[in-house]
């Protein structure tokens, strides 16, 4: 077929070169494809020390390498101490040496670091105030939130808006971008809370009347399971259903309204870095009077909660349109109960109430990544995400998949399952007479008890395949080592560890122990005590 003939059959081909040129112009305006050519120049032989919103801190690459190597030596020291291969005195000497070196190196790096801006920052602030509705329930949906309890009668909202630009945009364009970010306050029903039981039942009845008759018994049973699962989603918002709720959110940060821009930097002989980032940001500060409930949704760029008085504070990872792995997520001061679901809360401190957390997704990012070596690809998990829980008056129920969990000054019941992470509990005073437990699959459990705490509670520390260490004498903390059925999953297992010897009381018979292990793992009824089980982790109980 000759060209002319082909063109007759496909008339639009004549316009294809023009269309291609047009497409190139569009792409060059919207994508970061050619931004590799627009690197910001950094001093030669420099590496990235840390990221900032609009750029990076860079330091001489040689100094950074020495620093990283020294940090790795500190990590090795930690491994040796945890395995018990190093005596405390020797470890102390090495720790002092390493921290001295790191302090000097850090000071050198701080002094030599340079900030390289990859984008320009434009800021504006907006403020509103309003009185809460009769329900006294508030919902905040935003990416970056600070909540402060105050004595004022109204709710005050401040929004600090930020727009980044990587090229010289006209002032009006930047102003339009800033104006597009705004506070939205609504009083009414909240859709995200889902449906009430009555609505679900009515919907189900309607379905059954129309189509239910056509389904077999098996199909109906299967459907019921699925419907029940769906009904349970967001069940924690049930208190918000059928009520007029004050809802504060931010408009203008939705995925389709907040385009991505590229910032890139290049150091000759050093780093070349390109980051795809959002153009618009907003930090919302909300001053909240005492109220019935507060729900914080999103907040994955940062969350600070300070001195709040509220019956129930709920924090959930919903509808965040941006996130920052390096953000801080802290709660310091709450009079009321906390419910936290799959949110990377790092600090939970000074809570006059109960704390309930279920966070089974991974929040760590430090040290994670994929490396390529010859024909191998290594996907390395992150270091454990650290969570500190301190000063809680009415007990904790914590379920984590893998965090480095520090617990101290917990009054009331301690119920912790940290499946693959390490848990460290310090108890300074006597413990409540109830069923405490810390359970893990592969995590390490460290418990430090004062004499008063030890005297107040029965302690059972058991593992299937891990090691166990204690400084409490055998006549007070006797050894156990047995093989018996695991009533949690009906297989035979080894159980070894320590159990407290109580004066004038017989040691618990073996069969009762086996029942107790299952009760601990299932968190069902059992005698009071502090029960520690890690399937394959290391277990340490120290009395101070």
């Amino acid at each position: 077929m000759n060209t002319k003939l082909f063109l007759r059959y496909v008339p639009y081909v004549e316009f294809m070169p023009l269309a291609y040129a047009f497409l190139c112009v569009i792409l060059s305006r919207t994508s970061g494809a050619d931004d590799w050519e627009k690197h910001v120049k950094a001093p030669p032989n420099h590496a990235v020390l840390s990221d900032t919103l609009n750029g990076w801190y860079l330091v001489p690459i040689a100094s950074k390498q020495v620093y990283d190597e020294t940090v790795r030596r500190l990590e090795s020291l930690q491994t040796e101490v945890e395995s018990g291969h190093l005596k405390a005195n020797d470890a102390k000497v090495e720790l002092v040496e390493l921290t001295s070196q790191l302090t000097v190196l850090r000071a050198t790096l701080q002094a030599s670091r340079v900030h390289i801006a990859g984008a320009e920052i434009h800021e504006q602030t907006e403020t509103i105030e309003f009185e809460m509705g009769p329900e006294k329930r508030l919902v905040i949906t935003a990416n970056h939130v600070r909540v402060v309890g105050w004595e004022g009668k109204k709710v005050k909202v401040e929004l600090k808006k930020t727009v980044l630009s990587t090229d010289k945009k006209p002032v009006k364009s930047v102003e339009d971008e800033l104006k597009a970010i705004r506070i939205v306050h609504q009083l009414g029903r909240v859709e995200f809370a889902g449906q009430s039981d009555a609505q679900w039942d009515a919907q189900e009845a309607e379905f059954m009347a129309k189509e239910g008759a056509n389904l077999s018994k098996e199909q109906l049973a299967e459907r019921r399971v699925i419907v029940n699962e769906i009904r349970q989603i967001r069940a924690y918002h049930r208190d918000l259903l059928d009520k007029d709720i004050d809802h504060v959110s931010v408009a203008g940060l939705e995925f389709n309204n907040n385009k991505s821009i590229t910032k890139s930097v290049k150091s000759e002989g050093g780093v070349t870095r390109m980051n795809l980032i959002r153009q618009r940001y907003a930090e919302m500060t909300v001053y909240v009077p005492s109220c019935t409930s507060l729900c914080i949704r999103g907040a994955r760029r940062g969350l600070q909660v300070e001195n709040l008085i509220v019956s129930t504070l709920t924090i959930v990872d919903e509808d965040s349109t941006d996130s920052d792995e390096r953000g801080r997520f802290d709660l310091k001061g709450l009079e009321g109960n906390l419910v936290c679901i799959n949110f990377p809360l790092q600090t939970i401190k000074k809570v006059k109430g109960h704390v309930w957390v279920e966070s089974t997704t991974e929040f760590g990012f430090q040290g994670a990544g994929t490396t390529y070596r010859d024909d191998l690809r290594d996907m390395t998990p992150s270091r454990q995400f650290q969570v500190d829980v301190d000063e809680v008056t009415q007990g904790v129920d914590l379920l984590y998949a893998r965090v480095l969990l520090d617990l101290a000054n917990i009054q009331g019941k301690i119920n912790v399952k940290n499946e693959f992470g390490d848990t460290h509990l310090v108890v300074a005073s006597s413990m409540a007479e109830t069923t405490h437990r810390i359970v893990s699959l592969t995590g390490r459990i460290d418990v430090e008890l004062s004499s008063a705490a030890w005297d107040s509670v029965n302690v059972l520390a058991v593992t299937n395949h891990g090691g166990v260490r204690t400084n409490i004498p055998r006549e007070q903390f006797d050894e156990l080592d047995l093989t018996g059925p695991d009533k949690h999953d009906n297989v035979l297992r080894n159980w070894s560890g320590f159990r407290k010897v109580v004066a004038d009381e017989d040691l618990m018979p073996v069969f009762d122990l086996l029942d107790r292990f299952a009760a601990i793992l299932n968190d069902t009824a059992r005698a009071n005590g502090l029960d520690l089980i890690t399937r394959n982790g290391f277990l340490v109980v120290v009395r101070k």
């Binding site: 940090v71 500190l74 930690q78 101490v81 460290d446 400084n471 073996v510």
Partner: protein
Amino acid sequence: MIEPDDVNRDSLPLHNAALQAELAAAIERARHRVASPEMVERLTASVLQLTHKDAHRSFSPRYLNTVWIRGGAIAATIVLLFSYGFQQPKLPEVVQETTSSTSITKISLVSFNYSKIEGDLDRAETKAEEVSEGIELAAIRLEIRESLERFYYWSQ
């Protein structure tokens, strides 16, 4: 298969901290041959008390009974008094001689207990060290963790 945890116990525990401390002091002084007659008497009484208590806790009646234990303890006391009175060699050597017997006799039983006491006392002497090592290790581990957290991250 169920295996009771009491199987394979390798030493007898001392239950009474005051008694343990008293024994430790008495034997330590006896070792240095400065034991007074009163001290030896108290030691004897303690041995009897301890032997009786431990017999109840850790030995099966199938093998031993308290008559044998008491008898053994008295015999050991005689040996002790005799050895102190005539400036015999140090206590551990006496213990060593008697533990060489393989059959369970009055003397061997008591000496077995003595050897256990010795073992426990040795541990008691280093107990302060062990306790501090446990606490030190926990503290140093925490210090390393805090240092790592400090040196991992950089503020803006």
